[in-house]
């Protein structure tokens, strides 16, 4: 589905920035979501304690994940749920296709699941003759547009209502030129209601899987996960191994944080706890690894598995806001995506840890206190060491390091040349220099501080 190929974040971001009013619109929309998050958080005096508690629960989970997974599986089976295990995306997709195939099902409704985006399930099923309709409004919009979601919580945040109106006019028969969100939502409601009522299979993601009880919790505002799951014969839920939490009472921590961090709402409209299948129906859970166990073994990066997919780091990230989700060319965009993706394919995603100023706002809004910006810094070191950095950059860096290690070389600059900055790109005043495109060079002063200081010292003597 994705037509974004081998371009880097910088190139894709530059293309996004060709339309400045659109960048402003995107930036302001997401900043507004961040502002709503701030207001919601500030209403909870114990907010920071909640974050710390959530972080500690997740640390515990990661320290005993195998035990919790086994406990979860045993309890889910006891509840009448069938549990499947998928080592990678291909196995995940195959399990789902087999489940559908065995039942002669070739049409499925699906609520939001970033894991299925990561696994490219829709494309796989389409190739195998299964029609999938995404039921989350934002996901349905990008599906009709033939695009991947650009945000994990707000999948079509990059689309203007007029564009959505055009898509709906073309695919769902809404009036030409209609762009009122109320009317477009109603159009989708009618269209998707028919889908819910006619699909025998429903797939959902999982927000939390509780080891103690074997139940899964799914959060939506639209009610689409429930509409799909309750009306279908078979409910398939895809979850990454990291979705486990130990006990039901821990939901009392996570559900307080999740939506406040995501959109500033105190909780989603629906927080649905699926424990047992309905009479005469089936629930299947597919537990997916797809690189997560490897990430667990990377000491510097394992904390990324604490993520509860709230999207707060994207909303606060100035780079995300001003470059758009598609610039990250991976299923999960933004700061969290940039520390998850290199684990899956270091070469393909070597650019992402550099798509940040390391400003640190992401780590501060993270409800489970992932040290996102520190991990970005650490991924940079790994990527360079593994040889995925451009040669020219390596040469420049070596020259710079050499110069800066030597006081004599450093001082030999003089007031015009400022040799130490030969390798600092902003010190070259020409059109080929990216700095100069939108910014003037710093003015070279008469003398450096070092020179001034020496003279002052002489004067004092």
């Amino acid at each position: 589905m994705s037509n974004i190929t081998e371009k880097s974040h910088a190139e894709l971001a530059a293309a996004f920035n060709k339309d400045e009013p659109r960048v402003d619109w995107h930036d302001e929309t997401l900043w507004w979501v961040r502002a709503k998050r701030d207001i919601a958080a500030h209403k909870i005096p114990e907010w920071e304690l909640l974050r710390e508690t959530a972080s500690q629960i997740k640390n515990n989970v990661l320290s005993n994940l195998s035990g919790y997974l086994e406990q979860f599986e045993a309890n889910a089976i006891k509840n009448g749920i069938t549990v499947h295990w998928a080592a990678d995306a291909a196995e995940h997709n195959k399990i789902i296709h087999t489940l559908l195939n065995e039942r002669g099902i070739n049409r499925m409704v699906k609520s939001k699941s970033m894991l299925t985006e990561e696994c490219h399930l829709n494309e796989y099923l389409k190739e195998h003759g299964v029609d999938v309709i995404d039921s989350d409004l934002g996901e349905r919009i990008v599906q009709l547009a033939g695009e991947p979601p650009s945000h994990i919580v707000l999948p079509c945040i990059h689309k203007k209502k007029e564009e959505i109106g055009d898509i709906f006019h073309e695919h769902l028969g809404s009036a030409k030129g209609e762009s009122d969100p109320k009317i477009l939502t109603e159009t989708a409601r009618q269209h998707l209601r028919e889908v819910f009522l006619t699909r025998r299979a429903a797939l959902t993601g999982v927000n939390f899987a509780i080891a103690e009880t074997g139940e899964i919790v799914i959060c939506t505002n639209e009610g689409n996960a429930d509409m799909g799951a309750h009306l279908a014969e078979i409910h398939i839920a895809s979850m990454g191994i990291e979705k486990i939490i130990p006990e039901r009472k821990h939901l009392g921590v996570f559900l307080r944080l999740l939506t406040r961090s995501a959109t500033g709402q105190p909780i989603t409209t629906y927080s649905s706890h699926f424990k047992k299948p309905q009479q005469g129906k089936e629930i299947h859970i597919v537990i997916v690894d797809n690189g997560r166990s490897i990430q667990l073994g990377r000491e510097d990066f394992r904390n990324s598995l604490k993520c509860i997919r709230c999207g707060a780091c994207m909303n606060t990230c100035p780079v995300y806001r001003k470059s758009g989700g598609h610039s990250y060319h991976t299923a999960i965009a933004g700061p969290i995506g940039s520390i998850l993706a290199p684990n899956l394919d270091m070469k393909k995603y070597a650019d992402l840890p550099f798509a940040s100023t390391l400003c640190g706002s992401c780590s501060n809004v993270c409800p489970v206190k992932i040290d996102i910006h520190d991990q970005l810094y650490k991924w940079r070191q790994v990527i360079v060491k593994e040889g995925y950095s451009p040669t020219a950059k390596t040469i420049a860096m070596k020259a710079m390091a050499f110069t800066l290690s030597s006081p004599a070389l450093y001082r030999s600059g003089g007031k015009v040349a400022r040799l130490a900055f030969k390798y600092a790109p902003f010190a070259v005043n020409n059109q080929l220099n990216p700095w100069y495109k939108h910014r003037e060079m710093p003015k070279a002063p008469e003398q450096s501080f070092g020179e001034w200081y020496s003279k002052r010292k002489e004067g004092q003597q």
């Binding site: 100035p318 100023t357 780590s363 070191q381 360079v384 290690s405 900055f421 600092a424 910014r439 002063p445």
Partner: protein
């Protein structure tokens, strides 16, 4: 109290006035300041680009220059943070540890160590305070807008002591300016857009000067202001706090 002045390389080369102001201000406050003249750079430009393994030379040089002082004071939050977090040396780790504990950004040194509560300074202008990310979220010299915690700001506290100075409020009090070291050229489009938006926030709120405890951010914003032929100027916080003797 034996204090070493750590002047970041780009400040030394491009913004000597900020370093001079830092030195004079500290001396005015009765501090004996030494400037180790063989200093160059903290190594951050390489490290943030993924080449921390190339910073051994810089690190050893830094340790040689700055060992044996009670405090090391620097007019840059970013460089201070880099030393605090990343100064290591296989041969001289003890000295590195000691330096990491003694290095202070100027405004935190003034507030936390010197406990400055008044200044003889006058700067009768409207000033916008840019919170540099590394000073803010790394060194925590101000409270971060993301956290549910009491507000404070060491640079603002000092600026409040300056006669005639009016701090303007901002729409986004601590959004990043987009400099980000090599990010500013590697991600030129987003970087300059971020800088432009930051500058606009200050201008819209009537700032005549934009100040900060970090010159790298100011250098970035100055580049944008000058391209726009704006009358708004950037000035390092030390120059304002020292703004009495030379008008």
């Amino acid at each position: 109290m034996k204090v070493a002045l750590f002047v970041p390389c780009y400040v030394d080369q491009f913004y000597p006035k900020a370093a001079i102001a830092t030195l004079e201000l500290l001396e005015k406050l009765g501090v004996e300041v030494h400037y180790p003249k063989n200093q160059t750079c903290c190594g951050q430009p390489m490290a943030n680009s993924g080449y921390e393994h190339l910073t051994t030379g810089c690190n050893n040089l830094f340790i040689d220059n700055f060992s044996g002082y009670d405090y090391i004071v620097c007019p840059s939050g970013s460089c201070t943070l880099h030393i605090k977090e990343h100064l290591h040396s296989p041969e001289k780790e003890d000295q590195a540890v000691s330096i990491r504990k003694k290095v202070y950004e100027l405004t935190e040194f003034l507030i936390d160590i010197l406990k400055v509560d008044h200044l003889q300074a006058r700067f009768p202008y409207k000033v916008g305070l840019h919170q540099s990310c590394h000073g803010l979220r790394g060194l925590r010299i101000s409270q971060m807008s993301e956290l549910v915690a009491p507000a404070f700001s060491k640079p603002a506290q000092l600026l409040d002591m300056v006669q005639g100075l009016e701090l303007v409020p901002l729409g986004r009090q601590d959004d990043c300016c987009g400099f980000g070291g090599t990010f500013c050229v590697a991600e030129e489009a987003v970087s300059s857009k971020m800088g432009k938006d930051r500058v606009d926030d200050h201008i819209e709120h009537g700032a005549q000067y934009i100040t900060s405890a970090d010159l790298s951010c100011l250098m970035h914003m100055e580049g944008i202001l000058r391209r726009q032929n704006s009358n708004v100027k950037v000035i390092h916080v030390a120059e304002i706090l020292n703004h009495h003797s030379h008008e």
